[in-house]
Symmetry: C2
Subunit: 447 residues, 2 copies
């Protein structure tokens, strides 16, 4: 048993300070659990002179990463800088110096996870990353441990708090459009000055890639995740969704299907009784479907300094416990069972389309012919006069289950029709998730 | 690394067969994870001759527990018999023979957990029990590991599937009374012939005692959990609940408050937007409130052979991994920080009361005087003529936050009034859970 275990903290922003303070404030609990004290000995900062009045810890600050990465006393590097570079280099350096790593960096993991895990396994060090997905919600741990006996078939998630806040607002107030809720999200500190990582689904795609890779024991790169953001959603879409009995969410879903993996992030119409439809505001939720557990859902704050600290500290304690007790429990994400990601063209689901058409005889026949020729069956068809648009009317169509490639071809053909002014939006409709919706399975024993 | 790890299974009912079959079917996955094969070598049964056509495993059956408990080849005893005795004796014997234990037995844990964990720690063996609460929902693991950095303030749960099914049915159909939904639950296999463990809240109290003991690092005995069942709920209560904007659930809640623990199981009025209000049918959900994570909720199937197998198998793999790698990770529940359980009399919450009164002058004044004298403020007062009851009218009262002892005294005084025919029911009203309800907390970094 070592006298103490020292941590090098890379990044001392709001989360970094929160982690350092929590390690200080919870020293007794951590010691009882780990077996010896855990201390933050050094922290990498950009500016040593910056005021950090809320930092309780007497940690030594440096602007030189090598001082931390080469410190033989430091056993665990806790990386909270974010971004791809120079973070990736630092993590690689830490691993090759034999240090264990705790990171909250979804970008580095989504882009370079398999290589990092291989390097860590070769070197016999641990890399833990509970905070990279879902903030404080335990999700990596349950996937890798508590539910490890399951053969997973699906991961369905709302894992971007910023967009979920925006969509919740648009759903609740029909006067709010995309730009207005974006401004609101910025004012509340939920959205960045450049919101693209959130609103274009980039952040959600990183997280989904990580979850899918673990759940399906394969490598789902962020670039393989089909991705569509929320910029095109208008108040009209929310009005029609509500009229049709749906809620709009930025869905992140990965499924094992026909020997391939489906992985996609896009706005989706969810039935109002879908478990993810009820996840509002900046909250996140992840639903896992497995052969044994059927369905388990995890819900909580997907971001914020303290929830992130909850996850980072759990990882630190787990690694410190293993170090203190001479165990080695490398965390793998590099196993690959050869499953490949299915192209979005092969997706089969239901669709919602909103069109503007010139209100002239025969237009509906033209539209329905396009779908009919492509063997896409229509489930509903709503036409509304739009007064202020002159002779333009709004048409809303929902389809039965159809192939994405056929629906995309339909969109192209519709856009080429003289009678169609524009295809304003296309949103995929997700059927009820398999399991929670069944609302009950036979009870055989116990309670 | 041992050649293989052998399991002795005690109990080969539906869950036992499911566990044995899963260990067989998932042999490759388990081996990859543990490091060596895991096999079920022996199983304790009541009747060796019973037909078990669905058992895939070639396990040796015995009716003699000592053959399993004394088998030097067996490293892990998996107890799936249920009940307090003789199970407790078997588990104690297993521990004293140096065997690790996996159990789904909430009754034994709730009644004898601290003694078992002490014996296991003394002997250096592990006792794991993920399946004892919430079936396949990971909840013990997250409490002990993923959320271990948190100082927990509350555990709120719907953890009895049978009663949740019954209450969901009564809420959805005003023609159904308690006896009708009980019959329905029996017909579907959700309720036992003797339903008291479920409908009187005994099962939920066992589970809450286990959760509270872990969350608050203290010993909450099942006998210390205040317990009230669902037998008194009538269609009228559901009608009034709905009218007032509430849903009725059998709530299991434990809180750390004023240096004491509150632990209670009883029907409760939950606001319709309370996260637990949406958990329907036989599903279970547990919400944890901690200083860092704020709130995290876990939801899924609370019973059933396969979900239980998911939890049991996770425990088996964790213990087998530790055995194979020469680690010892005893699981504690015996630490005690001295917190004591608060008597129910000290509870402060809101209340719903339903009374039948003789419709005569002055009766309302008499009732309000009782509450006024006891300093219980009334929030609402509904009086309805009940035609078929002659001169009897139904009165429904809700209070502001009041002390349980004062409200119970009010009930006694009301029952003594000549003008009151009966106090038909009293149900506690739970305010919105602290955190999920806030619907969003400031976002400082990341997403």
């Amino acid at each position: 048993m070592p006298d103490q275990i020292s941590i090098g903290l890379m990044g001392l922003g709001v989360v970094g300070v929160s982690v350092a303070n929590a390690i200080d404030a919870k020293a007794e609990v951590i010691k009882a659990r780990v077996g010896c004290p855990v201390v933050v000995s050094r922290a990498l900062v950009r500016d040593i002179g910056a005021v950090r009045s809320n930092l309780r810890n007497s940690v030594e600050l440096t602007t030189d990463p090598d001082i931390i990465l080469n410190d033989p006393e430091i056993a665990i590097i806790v990386e909270l800088m974010g971004g791809e570079q120079p973070t990736l280099d630092y993590i690689n350096q830490a691993i090759s110096n034999g240090k264990h790593v705790v990171t909250a960096n979804k970008e580095v993991l989504a882009k370079h996870g398999p290589e990092l895990f291989k390097a860590a396994a070769d070197k016999g060090v641990m890399v833990r990353f509970e905070a990279s997905v879902g903030g404080g919600i335990p999700i990596i741990g349950p996937l890798m441990n508590d539910l490890a006996a399951n053969d997973f078939t699906a991961v369905n998630a709302v894992i971007n708090g910023t967009t979920n806040y925006m969509l919740t607002r648009m759903a609740s107030d029909s006067n709010l459009d995309y730009q207005m809720v974006l401004k609101e999200a910025r004012d509340r500190g939920y959205a960045e000055a450049d919101p693209s990582a959130d609103v274009d689904g980039i952040d959600a795609a990183f997280k989904l890639g990580i979850l899918a890779s673990i759940a399906f024991h394969c490598t789902v790169r962020d670039t393989e995740v089909f991705r569509e953001g929320i910029r095109r959603l208008s108040p009209a879409d929310f009005a029609y969704a509500s009229e049709l009995g749906y809620t709009i969410k930025l869905l992140a879903t990965a499924r094992r299907t026909h020997g391939r993996i489906q992985a996609r992030v896009h706005p989706a119409f969810l039935p109002e009784d879908h478990p993810l439809a009820k996840v509002d505001g900046v909250y996140n939720a992840v639903e896992l479907e497995g052969d044994l557990v059927d369905s388990a859902m995890f819900q909580g704050p997907g971001a914020g300094a303290e929830p992130t600290t909850s996850a980072v500290l759990a990882d630190i304690m787990a690694e410190a416990h293993s170090i203190a007790n001479g165990e080695r429990l490398p965390v793998h994400m590099s196993d690959n069972n050869g499953l490949v990601v299915e192209p979005i063209d092969d997706l089969e689901t239901k669709y919602y389309l909103r069109l503007r058409v010139y209100d002239r005889p025969g237009v509906l026949a033209q539209i329905t012919t396009v779908f009919g020729d492509l063997e896409v069956s229509l489930a509903s068809f709503i036409q509304k006069e739009v007064g202020e648009l002159g002779d333009v009317a709004e048409v809303v169509i929902t389809t039965y289950v159809a192939k994405e490639s056929a629906v995309q071809e339909a969109v192209r053909q519709l856009e080429a029709l003289d009678s169609v002014s524009e295809v304003s939006n296309l949103v995929r409709i997700e059927e009820q998730s398999a399991s929670l919706a069944r609302g009950g399975q036979p009870k055989r024993e116990g309670d």
